[in-house]
């Protein structure tokens, strides 16, 4: 179970595709954060994730330090172990925070859109200036301390032509976990979708070459789609279960089923004082789980991401209405991912087979990396 703490809706950037409503600035109090930790501890889950989110969460570093301190204290008196993650735009990363993250094992994910031409189009500061050049040192700082840090990349209609180039750039900078997502709310059309398809083909070539070279990496679009076939019977357990696997907590203490609902009180499923309104949560869950009429007859529906209520809400305004952009994306991506996997399996590529079929791969990979480090 994960609890995502939206520490603030304030940000030091003004990304053009950002969905956060930052008009009325609001910051979470330490009391609210502690109540979330108490709620998490009471859930009696053995492992609980505390995710620091925003706005930009590093605008409130002290709140992060205090919350983690409280979790450490709480662990002594409950059955749960806490682990921590933060998603940041990176501008405020510094040595002190890196030391802290190493000490408490705080997992850091950085948002970055790749090459300068792509990144600076949308990821700008309050003066509308691109942030690419200011992040260069931050990437080095992050990866030298946390080599497994993931990078979160958003592909927009005005940057899609740089998609493959951007992935390669981030990979060459040292990121091995690349989480890429479309801005589904963007103004996609047939032409930009065609460009996207061409980019995925280039990325498939890149994935193929890197896998043949036995590199270890995670490129989310392909990994997720390949997994949706390989783990056919269990894949349904991995998908979004609106409010059941993670709860988002707004700065004001209201609870929501996922990050993109925060601030829309219609979708609130409780608050930190009274806890989760199970009826409301179940109601949303049921709406989300019911097969959408538009997809009932589709041959790839079991492998498709249309179950993500959060994304549906962001793009169509309703959790039970699928975005045509998402549909087009799935139709483009799935055959390319399958063809890529067919080729690698047919080659009996060791890295592909271990990564996708061996549940112990992460552990073995860690053994390998630790051996390398000792040498």
């Amino acid at each position: 179970m994960h609890y995502t703490l939206h520490l603030t809706n304030a940000c030091n950037m003004s990304c053009k595709y950002c969905y956060v409503n930052g008009e009325n600035k609001c910051t979470m109090s330490i009391e609210t954060a502690k109540k979330v930790v108490d709620m998490a501890a009471e859930s009696k889950k053995s492992s609980v994730g505390i995710i620091f989110f925003g706005g930009e969460p590093l605008l409130n570093k002290d709140l992060i330090y205090e919350t983690v301190d409280y979790c450490k204290w709480k662990e002594k008196n409950c059955d749960s172990l806490f682990h921590y993650k933060i998603t940041t735009n990176g501008l405020l990363l510094d040595d002190a925070f890196m030391d802290f993250s190493t000490k408490v094992n705080l997992f850091i994910a950085m948002s970055h859109d790749g090459v300068k031409e792509a990144h600076d189009k949308n990821r700008v500061d309050k003066n509308n200036d691109g942030t690419f050049s200011r992040l260069s040192d931050k990437i080095d700082l992050l990866l030298s301390n946390r080599p497994y840090a993931p990078v979160m990349m958003v592909v927009n209609t005005n940057t899609v032509q740089y998609y493959a180039e951007s992935v390669k750039y981030l990979y060459n900078r040292g990121f091995k976990y690349l989480i890429c997502s479309l801005n589904y709310a963007g103004d996609w059309d047939e032409s930009s979708m065609k460009t996207l398809q061409d980019q995925y083909k280039k990325l498939a070539d890149f994935y193929y070459e890197r896998t043949l070279a036995e590199d270890k990496f995670y490129l989310s679009p392909f990994e997720v789609k390949i997994s949706s076939h390989i783990n056919k019977d269990t894949y349904c357990n991995e998908r979004c279960e609106l409010g059941k696997k993670q709860i988002s907590v707004g700065p004001d203490g209201l609870l929501y089923p996922c990050v993109q609902f925060v601030g829309d009180k219609h979708y609130s499923i409780g608050n930190v004082n009274t806890g989760i309104d199970e009826t409301k949560r179940q109601e949303l869950y049921n709406i989300n789980e019911e097969e959408k009429d538009s997809c009932r007859e589709c041959a790839i529906r079991a492998r498709c991401n249309h179950y993500c209520g959060c994304m549906n809400k962001q793009t169509t305004g309703r959790i039970d209405q699928v975005s045509p952009v998402l549909c087009a994306h799935e139709r483009i991506l799935m055959p390319i991912a399958d063809k890529l996997a067919n080729k690698l399996f047919k080659k009996r590529n060791g890295m592909f087979i271990q990564k996708h079929y061996n549940d112990m791969f992460p552990l073995i990979s860690l053994v390998e990396d630790s051996t390398k480090l000792k040498k």
């Binding site: 589709c298 087979i353 271990q354």
Partner: protein, 301 residues
């Protein structure tokens, strides 16, 4: 843009995880650099042991049990079940097993196919008995072939953007409803020095090359042998001095076998399937033995 449900989608050829766990030999494919790492070796051995134990406890068959080990037979006076064309580096189809069948309607036994994994295991094992070491793993022929398919217009359009490589093209002869695919060929495996390769034409290959095929019909026909023959024709003179053997799923006709051999017995579907698989295995071993004889006759081994 609008929501467009996909009517039909080809099942990918890479296996599901449970299939691999039932055939843990696949997990022996590891990155090359892991091979000299003792710590990784220990971790992997533990994993394989756990997987094998889990399989045996669950009562599931292991590939080595499925692929029973026969002793090598004397091939010295063997007559090959094929018309050999001298000087051709592409072997003919060695006819052991019907390789075809019609199902639905009055055909009561459902078709039973050898999976690619089972078949590759049999081919590798049988060849090794005669001193030929083959490895599964894609071998690319650096050539284009023409393979006639019966793909529909829609399939071609869909393929143009998705399934077919950028270096693959399609010739469309609409008046004859004939579509010809041109592209590189990836074979199923070969020997160490790359002189000898092989391809196993499975039911999946049949479906891929005959995209109009539908099991949803009341009556449907598989003709894997014919597909294998078309494949052989397509690669003739295009193997770049490589010897290529083509095998096919033998698909024995079980109704015929059971009525002629064991007419007094009643069989469950499961027993029929087991007998069918065993018969397929024997037929495929015969195909490999013919291939060995052919390679010897050609002076390749």
């Amino acid at each position: 843009m609008e929501i467009k449900p996909i009517e039909k989608y080809k099942t990918p050829k890479y296996p599901l995880k449970y299939m691999v766990l039932n055939n843990p030999n696949i997990l022996k494919n590891i990155p090359k650099r892991w091979k000299g790492n003792a710590k990784i070796g220990i971790a992997l051995s533990s994993l394989l042991l756990l997987t094998l134990t889990a399989c045996s406890q669950s009562g599931k068959k292991l590939p080595d049990e499925v692929v029973s080990s026969n002793k090598p037979v004397d091939l010295s006076n063997r007559k090959i079940a094929a018309n050999v064309i001298p000087g051709q580096k592409v072997s003919p189809i060695f006819e052991h097993g019907e390789g075809s069948g019609s199902f639905g309607c009055v055909s009561v036994s459902p078709p039973v196919f050898l999976s690619e994994e089972e078949a590759l295991g049999i081919i590798v094992e049988e060849a090794s008995k005669y001193g030929l070491t083959l490895h599964p793993g894609a071998e690319e022929l650096e050539t284009s072939i023409e393979l006639n398919t019966t793909q529909s217009q829609e399939e071609i359009v869909f393929s143009d953007t998705t399934i077919i490589d950028r270096d693959t093209s399609v010739k469309i002869d609409q008046s004859n409803h004939k579509y010809t695919r041109l592209g590189k060929v990836t074979l199923d495996g070969g020997n160490e020095d790359g002189r000898i390769s092989f391809e196993y034409v499975s039911v999946d290959d049949f479906k891929q090359w005959n995209s109009n095929f539908s099991e949803g019909s009341i009556f449907y026909t598989y003709d894997i042998k014919k597909t294998a023959q078309a494949f052989v024709e397509s690669i003739k003179d295009k193997t770049n001095q490589k010897y290529v053997g083509t095998f096919y799923d033998p698909m024995p006709l079980m109704e015929v076998m059971l009525t002629t051999e064991d007419s007094t017995e009643d069989y469950t579907d499961k027993e029929i399937a087991a007998k069918s698989l065993k018969a397929s295995e024997n037929n495929l071993r015969e195909q490999v033995r013919d291939f060995i004889c052919w390679l010897k006759a050609e002076g390749a081994i």
